[in-house]
Amino acid sequence: MSTTVQDATRRGTGAGGPFHHVPDEALLDYVIGRQGEAVALAIACHVALCAHCREEARRLDGIGGALLDTAGPARMSAGALEAAMARLDGASSPEGAAAPGMGATWPDGERLGVPRGVGALLAPRLPDGPTRWRYIAPGIRGVNVMLGEATNAGLSAKTGTETGTKTGTETGTVRVVRLRPGLVIPEHGHKTTELTLVLTGALVDVVGRFAPGDLSIRTPGDTHIQRVEAGAECLALVINGDGLIPMTLLGRLIRLIARP
């Protein structure tokens, strides 16, 4: 039933996974800062959990440095060095936190088994305080991830738009969902690309099994049935554009119920 299968499994994988990686071009765009925040967040979560993509990302990053080192210099204006040196005394003590720590934490996520490195990426983008999981559909609860100014831990972040995220040309929904063990999400398609990054538990569809760190990419035209593996709840970061296109009556019903 399913159509295109887009998956980047070529990259090497350790014994423990993740097995479903970020496609090369998407990783490059992430490394050079050209992904919108929503997609960048999903990729960052994968990279945080995937040693191979992390190494690849560092290598791609290193190319930028190598380009800089091997590039021809431009002529600086006269007095540029003196101007630079003159500013140093005003900032003689180093600025910013010393040891790079793990940053923010997401206690509710950790309690549910979300890896700490991923929690650090999500926490600044979630509402303060205990996470309030909202009903989305039978077996599905979720919390919206706030983008935009949410990168700044200040007040403005928390009052940012909750669901209608806009980063560059992106519009769509970014959520962390909690899926009941054994839940079957009926066959549905997508109008826009949907990214799902599994945080805990496992999701199974025609492409394969998606465990923590695995990234599922469904492009417009794909349809799939997803099943949550029995035994454990599945938490996932889900990013989609205009939502789901249900293929079945049950799916349509869920969509009606799930409409925000």
Binding site: G12, G14, D24, I32, G33, R34, A40, L41, A44, C45, V47, A48, A51, H52, R54, E55, E56, A57, R58, R59, L60, D61, G62, I63, G64, G65, A66, L67, L68, D69, T70, A71, G72, P73, A74, R75, M76, S77, A80, L81, A84, M85, L88, A91, P94, G96, A97, A98, P100, M102, G103, A104, R116, G117, A120, L121, P124, T151, N152, A153
Partner: protein, 215 residues
Amino acid sequence: MLHTSRNLRPTMHRDRLPVRLNDGRPDAEALLGEVARRRDKAAFAQLFAWFAPRVKGQLMAAGVDAGGAEDLAQEVLFTVWKKAHLYDPLRGAASTWIYAMARNRFLNSRRGKASTETDLFDPISPISPISPTAEEAPAAGGDALIMAGERDRMLRSALLELPEEQRQALQDVYFSEQSMRESAEGRGLPLGTVKTRVRLALERLRVVVTRRWQA
């Protein structure tokens, strides 16, 4: 595959690696360390002399006018002074760190976005996923450090060996805000050609680096 390099001990065949440091590049990693530890102005001046003209040049190549490029280069190097203690050699070469800061500054200036500590793209962000993880950090003894340094040295020499058109294509991708499509249009080339050049260049760099690791 790249991951094989993680298990190699570079010290074993270190003297067989090509050394291309006679190109006038200062030992930027050591200089950055001096700036971080001793607030050493002479070390900073050396970093400035090497990097400021190169940051400026890359920004100009990306379409920034000379004045704007010089201002951004000044800002980037001033940030180097202020944040030198946040540089982690395990993540890569000093030039990679400075490149990432320059790119971040440049993109933010174009997007009208303020750079923040937790920005996903900010190389000095404590949560940047490319930064060494908690598990990696304690093991960051000599080996990991040497490996990161060697990788960057090899990238530099491999880059110099690329055909000019591939190097140019990479340069466009890494230093401008344009998409590959826009950069193709700007150069009057089909998009497919630009994509192919970038892909070939990346593959070439991967092969060269991997082969040298395994030599």
